[in-house]
């Protein structure tokens, strides 16, 4: 093929003038990420009494970052196409919980072999996504409120099935390998994460599906007038989100070695934050997988890096501090995204003169 096809996946979005801005956004995020990393490398690495290097600058720590960012990262990957179509899916975190305990139940109570249980879990995830999809496309209900309902429903089912207390544990070693060991040098689940990222990236940037998602996000009516199958494409996006949430559920279970009903609580918020931070517009139409990955990395490095700082370690507040900074970062990113528009509006108009309103004659 010609050279154009070898361009990186961003190329689809990196074209044209206004897209330079988007690319800038991703570059900016990359600088932030590098700065973060360098800072934590310097401030968060130390040598302990036995002369062993500990803290941020160790390979173990780097792998830990990767290991811990897989689940939220997967949800962020699931949400990127959704948000690009100008939709939202609040239910992915709950679905992660539901899939995790169903997986545990299928294996533990159902006595199914692990691979079969995995396959069924993926099917359940897709089915749950299909429930969202049907309500959103066939009944034309707003995604926000539909997925708010399923957010409650999925978590509720998970709690009901486990009666709030059952935790499935004692998974076999070869299953835990997925979440706790390394394969070919990397944490095993990282390979799954990378594969899903590649798959979604290809779908979004290299196929007509991604084109359709973007078009629907930018101009839903325009897409209909161009003969694109708007409903089917939208449905695909939500089913895919369900499927990826199920994958995240399996990885979560394998990492912790247990399946509980509260698995993934609040993950949807971090995933949405990562996606928006990565430059995907909440209004739809623009966004890249590369940006999402950078957004996920920025949040993950922040969280783990903070945990290595002596100050934060003394306070034992890494979680909170990273959450606070993530929220603040999102606010700054949002404001920055509209600033040019606001500034251009503030330029003086030509015809503003003194207001003289004559009184209403009787």
């Amino acid at each position: 093929m010609s050279t154009t096809s070898q361009a990186p996946a961003i190329s689809e979005a990196a074209r044209g003038d206004w897209r330079a801005l988007l690319t800038r956004h991703e570059m900016l995020l990359l600088y932030v990420l590098i700065a973060e990393w360098v800072f934590f490398y310097i401030a968060g690495t130390s040598t302990n009494r036995r002369g062993v290097v500990v803290g941020f600058g160790t390979w173990d720590r780097q792998f830990d970052i990767l290991r811990h960012s897989c689940e939220i990262g997967l949800l962020a990957l699931a949400l990127t196409p959704v948000i690009i179509t100008a939709g939202i899916d609040l239910s992915v975190g709950s679905l992660l919980g539901l899939c995790a305990i169903l997986f545990g139940k299928l294996w533990h109570d159902g006595g199914l072999p692990i691979p079969v249980a995995m396959g069924l879990t993926l099917g359940i995830g897709a089915l749950a996504g299909a429930l969202n999809a049907i309500l959103i496309t066939a009944l034309r209900l707003p995604p926000l409120i539909v997925t708010l309902g399923t957010y409650s429903l999925f978590r509720g089912l998970a709690e009901a099935i486990t009666r709030g207390s059952i935790t499935y544990t004692d998974f076999p070693e070869n299953f835990l390998f997925i979440g706790q060991e390394r394969w070919l040098g990397l944490p095993t689940q990282a390979w799954i994460f990378i594969s899903v990222a590649l798959a979604v990236g290809i779908l979004l940037h290299r196929t007509t599906f991604g084109r359709a998602f973007r078009t629907i996000g930018l101009a839903p009516e325009g897409a209909r007038y161009a003969g694109l199958p708007v409903e089917r494409r939208l449905a695909l996006v939500y089913v895919l989100a369900g499927l990826i949430a199920a994958i995240a559920a399996i990885i979560y279970t394998a990492r912790l070695g247990q399946a509980k009903a509260d698995a993934g609580t609040g993950y949807e918020l971090f995933a949405i934050t990562a996606v928006v931070l990565g430059g995907t517009s909440i209004f739809g139409g623009t966004g890249t997988i590369a940006g999402t990955l950078l957004g996920v990395a920025a949040i993950a490095v922040l969280k783990n890096g903070l945990a290595c700082l002596p100050v934060v370690m003394r306070l034992n507040a890494a979680e909170e501090m990273s959450g606070l900074l993530t929220g603040a970062l999102l606010l700054v990113a949002l404001t920055a995204s509209v600033l040019p528009k606001i500034l251009s509006k503030l330029r003086p108009r030509r015809h503003t003169t003194i207001r003289t309103i004559p009184p209403l004659s009787p």
Binding site: M1, S5, G16, T208, G210, R355, P358
Partner: protein
């Protein structure tokens, strides 16, 4: 002589690069009904938006009772007693009739108490005064179009406005309600209110108005006392220029019928019993006024609003069109009227816009082939002479005419049998207009069947081989190409036939 109620001097308004108003003068006296006439796109709506404060003018002055108004916002317009009855009722559909009236009439102070009993009584009285039989507690969304229009009229009546604008108020009214409206207009005039009355129905204008101002191409071409002018004179003023433009001539004779409609109608979109044929190589013009049902007919043919009855045949095959995908797969292409919302996705690159309707053919495996896409886009950019920074420039960076060419390219790429063009030259500058005309003619000469919907009278007359004139959702007449514009206008206005 006392100063007029409302005086506009040299009002200019630009939308992007398009000059909607190029220096309009307009006077309204107290106690007169002043008709505003003009073809579609002549600038009537823009003028209204400026008088109601919805849009700020780019130049010129607005004087009300001798007072120069520096900045006219909707709120200021209200306090000055300017009220408008829009073509599409500007009501709040979720609220009741009484609530709508209250919002429109009492919204001046936020802490004010809304006295519902009084308001309901007042609403009842107002509705009774115009003779409308509508409950003040009815939710507006459940009212029919004419009923909503009557509520609008009641709002305006109740506001005690001194300047009342009526934008085609009778468009959706039945005979009975029209008479109610006429009575209201007479009533207003008697009370010294100035009424700006916009309508395409000439008989209405002659029955109601005292004076008439005709707008053409964003300029006023004259204000006349109505008793000094007759129908023919008015039509001549509206049409104005003789057809001075040169349109490309057909080089080949039309071939076999491609599309034939037999008694097609759709109740939801108000199209009734339309029958005609379009042949290969023929440009079939669809003339008529806005709201005559032309776009609605096109939407039926494109599967957006499926027909309820009648037969649609394409190249001998009877079609059941229920989605745009079906229409596209049968070789029907539709370049919509609203270019910005439906035609070109402004944020997407040209090449992506051009290939949008042929994903399946160009990317059979769904894998995007950027090289093939660019080559195809470049072909069309050259063939249609699209002026752009490159195939990767976003659609929004192009001028209106070039955007239209992109929309055209998208549909030509589908290799259609039938091409429906809806107002293809609206908001397009003169040079691009001529180019688009040439392209359309060339396509027809290559054997494409073309339906050309246009409100630009010279265009539809000059370009078409035959002209179907629509009014009130039906086909009124089929005239030969090059007909006298006055005949076409008369058919569209419904005065003849």
């Amino acid at each position: 002589m006392s100063s007029p109620l409302l005086a506009l001097r040299q009002v200019v308004k630009n939308y992007g690069g398009v000059r909607a108003l190029r220096g309009v003068d307009f006077d309204l006296r107290a106690g007169e009904v002043h008709a505003l006439l003009g073809e579609n796109g002549a600038g009537k709506s823009t003028l209204i938006k400026i008088v109601t404060g919805a849009h700020a003018p780019d130049g010129g002055t607005i004087t009300i009772e001798g007072q120069l108004i520096a900045e006219l916002t909707p709120a200021v317009a209200r306090t000055l007693g300017i009220a408008c009855i829009y073509q599409q009722p500007a009501l709040f559909p979720d609220l009741t009739v009484a609530e709508n009236l209250a919002l429109r009439l009492d919204a001046t102070t936020a802490h004010a108490r809304v006295d519902w009993t009084a308001r309901r009584t007042y609403a009842t009285a107002l509705l009774a005064r115009i003779g409308a039989d509508i409950s003040p507690d009815a939710e507006v969304r459940y009212l029919s179009m004419p009923e909503q229009q009557l509520v609008e009229i009641a709002c305006v009546l109740g506001s005690g406005a001194r300047i009342v604008i009526m934008d085609e108020p009778t468009a959706s009214l039945t005979q009975k309600e029209q008479h109610l409206l006429y009575a209201v207009v007479h009533d207003l005039r008697k009370n010294g209110v100035g009424v700006i009355y916009i309508s395409h129905r000439l008989e209405e204008i002659f029955a109601l108005a005292d004076r008439v101002t005709v707008l053409r191409d964003g300029q006023s071409v004259g204000t006349q006392e109505l008793r000094d002018i007759n129908e023919t004179g008015l039509i001549r003023l509206m049409v104005g220029r003789e057809v001075a433009q040169v349109f490309p001539a057909a080089e080949s004779a039309p071939g076999a019928p491609v599309l034939s409609l037999l008694g097609v109608g759709c109740n939801a979109s108000g199209v009734h019993d339309v029958s005609f044929e379009v042949r290969a190589g023929e440009i079939f013009g669809l003339g008529g006024l806005v709201g005559a049902g032309r776009t609605e007919l096109a939407r039926i043919l494109f599967g957006l609003t499926p027909a309820d009855y009648g037969q649609i045949k394409l190249a001998g095959e009877t079609l059941q069109l229920s989605s745009p995908q079906q229409a596209v797969s049968h070789g029907i292409a539709y370049v919509p009227e609203d270019r910005r919302r439906h035609g070109v996705v402004l944020e997407l690159a040209l090449e992506q816009n051009i290939t949008m309707a042929i994903h399946r053919r160009l990317f059979p495996t769904t894998w995007l082939r950027f090289g093939a896409e660019r080559a195809l886009a470049l072909d069309y950019i050259r063939a249609l002479a699209i002026k752009c920074a490159g195939p990767d420039a976003p659609g929004g960076s192009l001028s209106g005419g070039n955007q239209q060419k992109v929309a055209l390219a998208r549909w030509l790429a589908t290799r259609p049998k039938l091409l429906i063009l809806d107002e293809p030259t609206q908001g397009v500058d003169v040079g691009a207009k001529t180019e688009i005309h040439k392209i359309i003619r060339r396509l027809a000469d290559e054997g494409l069947a073309v339906i050309l919907i246009s409100s630009d009278l010279p265009e539809v007359i000059g370009m078409s081989d035959r002209i179907g004139v629509m009014a009130h959702g039906t086909l009124r007449a089929i005239l030969p190409g090059g007909s006298d514009p006055r005949t076409v206008m008369a058919a569209a206005l419904g005065t003849a036939a």
